[in-house]
Amino acid sequence: MQVPILKQGPYLIASIQSALSDADLMQLRDALVRKVSTFRSRGVIVDVTVLDVMDSFASRTLNDLVHMIRLRGADTVIVGIQPEVAFAMVQLGLTMEGVATALDLEEGLEFLDQKLKHKGTGPRDG
């Protein structure tokens, strides 16, 4: 199951549609990291609303993804983690240190806009 990656202004939005296998996750990571430079994106949003399980591999892959994208000059925010999933994750010690999270897509976009404003470039002008 491939994850569609949508370009929205200076941002990329990866909206996960169903449960993902480990291979799918790695593919998503590689595709996002590649497309960030293709589109010269400033921010990335990964929407995990539909996921009702988040195992250690998934959170590690997302963690790696965030840090790789940061190295390529963009910010990432994970949005839509379900309450039950969030609590299960912290119980397993998967706290995603240093990864920005937001409630949903709207919040994620706002977060990235704020971030861009701080950097001095106006939001969504690229």
């Binding site: 999933v85 969030a86 609590f87 994750m89 912290v90 995603m96 919040e107």
Partner: protein
């Protein structure tokens, strides 16, 4: 436990052969004299100052139906109808403050009233009186136990329901400003309550789209390391939902616990008191609270 008593009672009543026709004689005696006996019973209830929460008419109405159910239970030897009636009666009278001793008292009074009438009727024939009482007593005792147990069970159920309600109420998640929730916690936190608290908070964050949450634990005197750990997990889980948690009002004992279990305190956002916490939350949300007088004074013209 109750089943056992019932079974053993059932056995003891069916054990004495020949008690059948004595019981039916007894029942017809009670039916014939029902009006007189019921009045006598109601009078003795009033005399003993039982059921003071109910009016005279109510007592008489209840006495009538209890009496009929009682005689029927004696006749058929089955307790289902009486049990159902006892449950129903308890439901009605518990909220009015009727106590266990009153319920047990009135049932025992009825037992006494009926026994007295038997004494009066068979006073000439001591042997027959003996046999009638042999048949009557186990059945009457069984009925008394059924009613008393039914009442106590209903009471326990009421208490359980109230406990559940109190637990629900004990962890309110309140929205005080757009995107700002507060969660005041008062009293002891046991693992069950801690779990419920987390659930309600995380759900509250989602439904209210909260960005900042202030958890005020001024009213919590102490917590064990398990609950403290749970609190830390809740803070982290909230962060995954995109909300910042500020914990306020940590008592010296709780601070000690948190330090002892080695929580990474850089992850915990703590402020001294609730006011400070709300001010910090407003700052994070970009609000600035200004007194109207100052605002007017600052306006030119």
């Amino acid at each position: 436990m109750r089943k056992n008593t019932e079974q053993s009672m059932a056995r003891s009543s069916s054990m004495t052969p020949g008690s059948g026709h004595l019981l039916s004689e007894l029942v017809s005696h009670l039916r014939e004299n029902s009006v007189m006996l019921r009045e006598e019973w109601a009078r003795r209830i009033t005399e003993a100052e039982l059921l003071m929460a109910m009016s005279q008419e109510e007592i008489f109405a209840e006495a009538t139906s209890v009496y009929d159910n009682y005689v029927e239970a004696l006749e058929t030897g089955t307790l289902e109808a009486l049990q159902a009636y006892a449950r129903n009666l308890s439901e009605r009278i518990i909220p009015r403050g009727v106590e266990t001793h009153e319920v047990v008292g009135i049932v025992l009074l009825l037992r006494d009233v009926l026994a007295r009438s038997l004494f009066a009727k068979y006073q000439g024939d001591f042997d027959k009186l003996n046999r009638i009482l042999d048949a009557y007593e186990p059945a009457a005792n069984r009925i008394a136990i059924t009613v008393a147990v039914g009442f106590v069970e209903q009471r326990e159920r009421t208490i359980r329901e109230q406990q559940e309600a109190i637990r629900e109420l004990s962890t309110p998640v309140l929205q005080v400003r757009e995107r700002l929730l507060i969660l005041p916690i008062i009293g002891l936190i046991d693992p069950h309550r801690a779990r419920q608290l987390t659930e309600q908070l995380l759900r509250g964050i989602r439904t209210n789209r909260a960005k900042v949450v202030v958890i005020d634990i001024t009213g919590v005197a102490a917590m064990d390391s398990h609950v403290a750990n749970h609190l830390v997990l809740t803070v982290e889980a909230s962060r995954l939902l995109g909300a910042t948690v500020i914990v306020t009002g940590l008592s010296p004992e709780i601070s000690q616990t948190l330090v002892n279990i080695g929580v990474d305190l850089s992850k915990m956002n703590t402020v001294g008191d609730l006011q400070g916490g709300i001010e910090e939350a407003e700052r994070l949300l970009g609000y600035r609270v200004v007194s109207i007088r100052d605002a007017v004074a600052a306006q030119p013209g």
